[in-house]
Symmetry: C2
Subunit: 212 residues, 2 copies
DNA sequence: CTTCACATGTGAATCTTTTAACAATTTAAT
DNA sequence: ATTAAATTGTTAAAAGATTCACATGTGAAG
């Protein structure tokens, strides 16, 4: 139990959470680093090392208790908290995210959308209002938003991020294919879907390259 | 110029490509590792090290030629090739991907969609046919698909991936929140959007943690 | 033509991450 | 009650990635 969670471990945490939840749903109550490693394509050694840094869950000769470990990782990830999200850009991606049911189940609730296309300005069937983006400064600060989902075109992304910061937003989940410049007190995580497609393209072009 | 491209470098390649294209669009013809590093939040040293592994582009006292470097990275990524994609699962995510215009521009063309919901079985306005997923084995092998976009619910993902493999598909761009088991001769890259949201949640819960 | 500032390529040093190894503990079986 | 098999926590070693430092080459200015 060493306490410090390195960035390499943080990147794997959502994967642990996902697999443990799935195991729990299937009624599995206990799992060894060996077995979990096979599922996740990690070495048992790495799994023990990872879990050990927030320590004390395993029992020798037995393994790890699935439910308890999942809950603990969920807490480390902050999944016990609730988040109110605003979606900026009500195009296909923005809508896909706002309707994706598992986010809401995990405490990420979409409470409003903003777009520049007036055709979309309407109360949606699910009760999420869509507002003109020109009203961002007027409406957003009242909404108690903790996460903004940025799903605008690349060309508008930086300017919009700046406006969001000015409205008090301190966390952006960015779907625009752009690396945003941002103050240190605003967190930004990028989805950058096309990057993953490019990596697939790379692997197809170099089937020989050993992945390490 | 050492030739071997490590996985850490491959993961950064799409970012280089993105930034270089943007620079090129803005008419920038030359850039130093210093300046590029500021844009990308990488050290100049790392950039020189990265670019050096497929070598020989920079000129001392001058920097790197933007167009030439971009083109070369594009080739390494395999972006000179064309790909025909089939989208499996015509829900919001599947549709968002198939309509996203920049993929087509980069040579990734959606040629068909499959879904289990008969309400969707129709020729779309953009000419992309939507077929019942039960006809996968009948239709897909004829279509000369090189990439399948998997956008079905988590519960169906593994079974569907197995069927795709049986149909001859050897590359999957996976949007289902699942780590697929797959033969070594099939490439899979995951988007796992919710993982990035979980990482955002982690960072919000631990604003102190140094990101390294 | 000389000089100066700039910026790369590269080898070595440092830091991080992963893997290996094993003593210690638990479970289950006989 | 003993023993055998399983499996962790942890330390140490190995591998990998990043940063540093500097010699070397380039371009521009005087």
């Amino acid at each position: 139990m060493n306490g410090y969670v390195s960035d390499a471990v943080v990147r794997r945490l959502p994967g642990y959470y996902r697999h443990l939840r799935e195991l729990e749903e299937n009624g599995v109550v206990q799992i060894s680093s060996q077995e979990l490693g096979e599922r996740m394509s990690l070495t048992p050694s790495q799994i023990r090392q990872d879990i050990n840094c927030f320590g004390g869950f395993g029992r020798q000769g037995y393994g790890y208790p699935v439910h308890e470990l999942k809950e603990h990782i969920g807490e480390i990830l902050g999944l016990n908290r609730k988040h109110r999200m605003a979606i900026i850009g009500a195009g296909r991606i923005g809508n896909a995210v706002s309707r994706y049911p598992s986010f809401r189940r995990e405490g990420f609730e979409t409470v409003a959308m903003f777009d520049s296309d007036p055709a979309l300005m309407t109360e949606e069937d699910d009760g999420i209002g869509i507002y003109d983006i020109s009203r961002l400064e007027e409406l957003l600060p009242e909404m108690d938003i903790s996460i903004a989902v940025l799903a605008v075109p690349a060309t508008a992304a930086q300017k919009t991020a700046d406006r969001l910061y000015a409205c008090g937003v301190r966390a952006i989940w960015n779907f625009a294919p752009v690396d945003l410049q941002h103050p240190a007190d605003m967190e930004v995580v990028n989805v950058h879907m096309s990057d993953t497609l490019h990596i697939l393209s790379y692997r197809m072009a170099h089937p020989d390259a050993d992945r390490k």
